[in-house]
Amino acid sequence: MTNHLLSIEELGADGIREVLQLSHTFVEVSARAIPRVPALRGKTLAWLFYEDSTRTRLSFETAAKRLSADTMNFSVGSSSVNKGESLRDTVETISAMGVDCIVVRHGSSGVPWRIREWTDASVINAGDGWHQHPTQALLDCFTIEQRLGPLDGRHVAIVGDIKHSRVARSNVEAFTALGADVTLVGPRTLLPPSLDGWPCKVSHDLDAVVPSADVVYLLRMQNERMNEALVPSMREYSMGYGMTMERVGALADHALVMHPGPMNRGVEIAPEVADLDRAVMVDQVRNGVAVRMAVLYLLLGSGVELPVEGV
């Protein structure tokens, strides 16, 4: 693993496996009465969140605290950024304070790649525009393998607004890197304009895909998509691509329903589906902490740096 986690593609299949394997250690730590180890004592992490994200930030915050790292929040809403400070100046300011890691979320695709050039700290991408959300993909892989065993040979359907989804982009790369078959399901308007080079199948027919799926991964459907004439109405979207109880009936017994949250109950997922045992959203959130601990530990704690003297 390099010093940064920006995308699943850069992490690669071996990197994904390394994180997933180590995550088990941190599931165990998280289950302890005192779920805290001193592994990252003395390390300082900065949250640089240009987009609101309570869930992801809390998950990272919990992971960092369980590893005894110090954290600071560069809250963009009330800071110099509002006074017109440039991204680079902000990053250089934070770096000058001596942080070891910057966890960044930004509404613009690619921002973590720019930041990486301006700091010596490790950079973790906590979501950039429509592009990548690698820790989400890692926790999704971990959750699937925890329930179903290896992803190799499994069939995952990713359903909904693929075009605007960094979760979809990361997950396609992660699932396929681990050997799963991925089908993207959604109306043409919600698919990326070109799928050249995407290692997955495409379908506009959810009912045809559901029976062979081991995992149905639902994406959040945002209201504003209707204003852009991408779908006629939420009702019509739910009819074609919502996970209803009827569609659950067509699933294999072992098949999982997943969602990165926050869910729109009644739109992409029927309320009663969200409460089924096979709907593993709570597992995703729980595993998110352990997976992020593994990521932080690999980036900041475990580098084999000191030579071994006699043992």
């Binding site: 005192i34 180890v37 590893l67 475990s302 084999v304 740096e305 003297e309 006699g310």
Partner: protein
């Protein structure tokens, strides 16, 4: 020398080249049995005694001591395992091995914890283990059993039960395995 070090390749680890045998397999069995007796004696029996083997070299030793204890006293104390990688102050030295699990079967509060490891050297592993153990409760006492004490302590830590005191050079390496104990060098 434990699995963790064996696993690392140069320049961080190396290949262990044995120079001479320090203990034979039967020497070691005798030492383990003696340690078991000493544990019983020091604690007036086995009430509240919990053995905790340190990942990775202390695990099989803890199990071996436990079975001697069972033979002698007719009951086997609980045996746990602990990985101190996440507690070390020299982090970076030893990578976490995912299969080196921490498993503490009982709440350690008011228990007598006997940490078991293969080699006592600088003492830093034991310091980390003391931190780790306290995260699982507040033991009444923590004792330390090691097969080899090779000196060169960097912290005020001493063992309660020792298989063998072995003066070494800093550059030497000690390898404790089921067939005995060897001294030699790690070839980079």
């Amino acid at each position: 020398m434990a699995e963790r070090e064996r696993r690392m390749s140069p320049p961080f680890g190396g290949v262990f080249l044995a120079r001479s045998e320090v203990l034979s397999e039967s020497d070691m069995t005798r030492a383990l049995r003696r340690i078991a007796h000493e544990i019983i004696e020091a604690n007036h029996g086995l009430d509240d005694v919990v053995l905790v083997g340190l990942q990775t070299g202390g695990i099989w030793l803890a199990e071996a001591v436990a079975s001697h204890l069972a033979e002698i006293e007719g009951v086997q104390p609980p045996v746990g395992t602990i990985d101190v990688a996440l507690y070390r102050d020299d982090i970076g030295l030893r990578p976490v091995m995912p299969e080196a699990v921490t498993h503490i079967p009982v709440d350690l509060t008011n228990k007598v914890v006997v940490l078991v490891d293969d080699v006592l050297f600088t003492g830093r592993t034991i310091r980390a283990a003391l931190d780790a153990v306290t995260d699982f409760g507040r033991p009444r006492a923590v004792q330390l059993a090691v097969m080899i004490d090779r000196g060169h302590r960097e912290l005020p830590i001493r063992p309660d039960f020792v298989g063998k005191n072995l003066p070494t050079k800093r550059s030497e390496a000690v390898d404790v395995h089921r067939g005995g104990v060897d001294i030699g060098e790690v070839q980079k």
